[in-house]
């Protein structure tokens, strides 16, 4: 990687949605989530641990995700987060709302 692009600040509230989305594919541990978001956004979004872990704690307490300790492919122990049923519903709702929002914003900008 040559010059690292300045990491974009996530729109307030979108981090939770992104976390839920990454977990919708498969259970991941903390670093896995960071990596996946970075990969999926083409390196635009970087989530640092100071933001990620409080978000994970909140989501866990809201019952949207559940964490449990498992062994990684490298044979280390890590806390994996799984999307709960409530989280799946939440993701669906947020996605729909997000889609409408983006479409509306795009229409305004393109007008």
């Amino acid at each position: 990687m040559p010059e690292e692009p300045a990491a974009l600040v996530l729109v307030q509230g979108t981090l939770d949605m992104l976390i839920l989305k990454t977990l919708a594919l498969e259970p991941l541990h903390g670093f896995g989530i960071t990596l996946r978001i970075e990969q999926m956004s083409g390196g635009v979004f970087r989530v640092n641990p100071g933001t990620l872990f409080p978000a994970l704690k909140r989501l866990e307490r809201d019952g949207l995700i559940a964490g449990d300790w498992r062994t990684t492919e490298n044979n280390r122990r890590a806390k994996y987060y799984t999307l709960a049923a409530r989280g799946r519903r939440q993701l669906r709702d947020e996605r729909a709302a997000w889609g409408r929002q983006v479409a509306a914003i795009a229409r305004i900008l393109e007008a």
Binding site: H29, T34, G50, F53, E60, R61, T72, N74, R77, A78
Partner: protein, 889 residues
């Protein structure tokens, strides 16, 4: 569900803190490991991968802090820290803490105690099931619709037959009566107990059934089938050892056999115009009771399901209107009023309690002002400490919160002490001042105790107080400070904002104190004037006691026990130290019965203008014993008997009313009941206050007991020394001639005078105590503020003295400055008093709420106290040695 999860997770964070922390630690470490692994896979050498990962991660501690902040338990943790910090601070300043807590304890304690009484007398619903369905039914007259009259048995029967709005309706004898329980073979002494005649549905109306046996049956309302009794739990337990087999057996009351049919549960208490009743007896209506104009019963009812008060009112008014048309002789122009039982007789209580609550509220405000001043003074001393905390990164909000936590923790300590004071103080209050409180209808004293509501009230008051006195110091932390407080000396020179605030608080304190003082002053002035009223008799050294004399026709006809007066005179008159003795049906100041009558030789008036007067019955010797002057003619003698001419003694008011320009002696009247004889006036006596010292005297006439019976007579005995010391010899002398009629309610007449001003005495004593408390708090507050400002300005004083100011000037400076604020407080307080004293209303007697004498006197007292309180600490300013003062720091 999520709430529960949050709660559980938060609690885990608090109580399994180590595990939660270890978990977070492991998770972050694994994150770092994964991050490093990723970088190695990207081809970075190990040391650079490690460093890069650490840089991306940032400070581990910072991340952990962020995570901890995401949970609610974090707030609790900081609160806990603040509390521990506050406790350490308070521990370091034990004097300050003690003064603040004590001040608050006094304020909160007074409030909780008074609230306990208010709660027990006004707020608590009646202690019967569904108390909101209970009503009283009164008869009213068109002339005075606000005046409620008791009812007669025939009216009750008509109401009972015709109404569709009550689930149940009952009446009880308004006067109640003492019953003489006979001494028995197994050593129980003769005892007089307080009882009341009731109709069959009485217990059903109140919604409480006997817990042993049964209540009364309708047929027992008939005379001759009424020899049954239901006992109060207390009497059953104390006198009969809680013997369940008593039910169905007979006991002897008033020399006759009564079958015990039931025992009421322990929490059932019934009181109306006197303390709780111990026995209930079926009505057994006598011939006298059965007259439609024989109004002697109180009607109580339980609304039928779904019926509103307004519906009941409408129907009862209709029914009584019908009766008025049907029986114009007795019921013309009458209607009926249905009122909630829980509201009965509370108008004056409400006024009194409101005044007391206001007074204690002010006392608490004064206490808060004092504590606020203490905190401000202490806050000034802590400026450096707080500046250091700010320099270390604490936000103003954080510091304000810290200060509020400190205030609230002080408040909680004070509140806890105050609650303890109420737990201890409210029974004490009930014990010291029972007369007034025990006379509230349907509200037994046992209702006055600390309960959940009192606890909630105390908590609320404590919290409000804490916020109130905490807000001044806390708001200071948001203020931008000029200069660097770290470099500043501990003092703020030349007064400034803090000093002005403290003095303004003194002004508030003075204003509040003046209002409380005015209340107390007006009550004291009322009492002085009230007790200065000539009652019309001489209560000193007179002993009174009640004896119950069973009658067949309770209030009419010749006495069953015709020798009572003679026996009394012979037995009690012989006791050494007894000057004279007599007896009367109605003691002065205790209210009276009334009777209508016709005057001989005058035309029979329209029904609504029938002459009437208070009516009572007396034994020979009564007027002499009470020191009531006989103005004309004679008093009763032993020669007035059933065989001789019927006679009456009238009071001056009656003589003036009905024979204004003639000699009343020898005139005759006849009561408006068929078969009553003409009665000749043989004496005119002085007027006596029968309805209270604050009520005008009314026309009154007396019949001799030997010619007209009364079921309960009060014996009066004039003695040569302290009357209570004769109680036993007199009771013994009576017991020899009247073994089955024990006396009760033994007490000096002077106490009855005292009890008659009970509500005012109650208000006066409490308001005076609160006023003293307020005065003391205000004095302490002023001393505190002045000593603090003298201490703060020691350097300035030193400089001034060094430049030639005389020490006396310095004292005058401080005293004068304080007194300016005190004067402002006095002015505000006077204005406030004018507004608040209306609260006292009818509690005042012969004193206007804005009485200039009282207001002037209390202002002078307060000003003097304030002067002394500012002079004492200001004297220290005179003794400042300029050299020492300049060298200090």
């Amino acid at each position: 569900m999520p709430l529960w999860r949050h709660l559980a997770a938060g609690l885990r964070g608090l109580f399994r803190r180590d595990r939660v922390e270890a978990d977070l630690d492991a998770e972050l470490r694994s994150y770092l490991d994964e991050s490093v692994g990723q970088k190695l896979r990207d081809g970075l050498p190990r040391d650079r991968a490690l460093r890069a990962a650490r840089v991306e991660m940032g400070s581990l501690e910072a991340v952990k802090d962020e995570v901890r902040d995401a949970g609610w338990e974090r707030h609790l943790e900081t609160l806990w820290q603040d509390l521990r910090y506050a406790a350490r601070g308070q521990g370091r300043a034990p004097g300050f803490t003690a003064v603040a807590v004590l001040t608050l304890a006094l304020g909160v304690g007074a409030n909780s105690t008074i609230f306990t009484v208010v709660n027990g007398t006004l707020l608590r619903p009646l202690s019967f099931p569904s108390p909101d369905r209970l009503v009283l039914v009164w008869k009213t007259h068109a002339s005075e619709p606000g005046d409620f009259s008791i009812v007669s048995a025939p009216e009750f029967w008509d109401w009972q037959r015709q109404n569709h709005v009550f689930d149940s309706l009952a009446i009880f004898d308004s006067a109640g009566k003492g019953y003489n329980l006979a001494a028995d073979a197994i050593g129980r002494d003769a005892e007089q107990v307080s009882g009341v005649r009731v109709t069959a549905q009485f217990f059903r109306v109140l919604g409480v059934e006997p817990f042993l046996g049964r209540g009364f049956r309708p047929e027992e309302e008939t005379l001759g089938k009424d020899h049954e009794v239901v006992l109060a739990y207390g009497l059953w337990a104390a006198r009969y050892g809680a013997d369940a087999s008593l039910v169905g057996r007979t006991i002897r009351m008033d020399g006759e056999a009564y079958t015990v049919v039931g025992v009421m549960p322990p929490d059932f208490q019934f009181q109306f115009w006197s303390g709780p009743r111990q026995v209930w007896v079926p009505a057994g209506f006598t011939a006298g009771d059965q007259r439609r104009n024989s109004n002697s019963f109180v009607a109580i009812a339980r609304l039928a399901p779904g019926v509103t008060l307004a519906q009941a009112q409408a129907e009862m008014a209709t029914i009584q209107g019908r009766l008025a048309a049907q029986y114009p002789d007795d019921d013309a122009d009458t209607s009926a009023a249905v009122v909630p039982m829980g509201d009965f007789g509370l108008t004056e209580v409400r006024r009194l309690m409101l005044a007391l609550l206001a007074a204690v509220g002010f006392v608490l405000l004064i206490a808060c002002v004092n504590v606020a001043n203490l905190l401000l003074a202490r806050g000034a001393g802590r400026k450096r400490e707080l500046a250091i905390r700010r320099a270390l990164g604490a936000s103003p909000a954080r510091i304000a919160r810290q200060l509020l936590v400190e205030s609230l923790s002080l408040a909680v300590l004070g509140g806890a002490a105050g609650l303890a004071a109420a737990v201890w103080g409210s029974p004490l209050l009930v014990r010291i001042l029972p007369g007034y409180l025990s006379s509230i209808a349907f509200r037994p004293l046992s209702g006055i105790h600390v309960d959940g509501q009192v606890l909630a009230f105390t908590l609320l008051v404590t919290g409000l107080a804490g916020i109130l006195f905490g807000v001044f110091p806390a708001s200071g932390s948001f203020r931008r400070r000029a200069g660097n407080p770290l470099n500043e000396r501990g003092d703020d020179q030349g007064g400034g904002r803090g000093n002005r605030l403290r003095h303004a608080l003194v002004a508030c304190e003075v204003a509040l104190t003046l209002v409380v003082l005015c209340g107390a002053g007006l009550m004291i002035a009322s009492m002085v004037r009230l007790l200065g009223v000539d009652p019309g008799f001489d209560p000193a050294r007179v002993l009174t006691m009640r004896v119950s004399l069973p009658q067949i026709n309770t209030y009419y006809g010749p006495p069953v026990h015709a020798r009572f007066c003679q026996d009394l005179g012979e037995s009690v008159g012989a006791v050494t130290g007894v000057v004279s003795t007599g007896a009367v049906a109605h003691l002065p100041l205790r209210g009276n019965a009334g009777r209508g009558f016709f005057l001989e030789g005058k035309p029979v008036p329209e029904r609504s203008e029938t002459p009437g007067a208070s009516y009572s019955v007396a034994c020979p010797g009564y007027f002499r014993t009470m020191g009531i002057p006989i103005l004309e003619g004679r008093e009763f003698t032993a020669r007035d008997t059933l065989a001789s001419e019927p006679v009456i003694v009238i009071n001056q008011a009656m003589a003036r009313r009905y024979w204004p320009d003639e000699d009343a002696i020898g005139r005759r009247i006849r009561m408006g009941i068929a078969g009553e004889p003409w009665m000749t006036v043989v004496g005119v006596v002085g007027d006596v206050r029968h309805w209270g010292l604050d009520s005008a005297t009314r026309p009154q006439f007396f019949r001799p007991y030997t010619q007209a019976a009364w079921p309960s007579m009060t014996i009066v005995v004039r003695t040569t020394a302290a009357p209570m010391s004769f109680a036993r010899p007199i009771a013994l002398a009576l017991a020899r001639v009247e073994p089955d009629r024990p006396v009760s309610n033994i007490g000096p007449m002077i106490d009855i005078v005292g009890a008659s001003v009970g509500s005012r005495r109650f208000a006066m004593l409490l308001l005076s105590s609160f006023a003293l408390l307020a005065l003391a708090l205000a004095g302490v507050g002023i001393v505190g503020v002045v000593s603090y400002s003298v201490a703060q300005r020691t350097r300035e004083i030193g400089i001034r003295v060094a430049l030639g100011a005389r020490p006396g000037d310095m004292v005058a400076l401080f005293v004068g400055r304080t007194m300016v604020w005190v004067a402002a407080g006095l002015a505000t307080g006077l204005a406030g008093s004018l507004a608040f004293m209306r609260l006292l209303g009818t509690l005042l007697f012969d004193v206007r709420p804005a009485d200039p004498m009282v207001l002037g006197a209390v202002s002078a007292v307060l000003a003097a106290i304030a002067l002394a309180a500012s002079y004492l600490p200001a004297r220290r300013a005179a003794s400042v040695d300029p050299l020492v003062a300049l060298r200090s720091e």
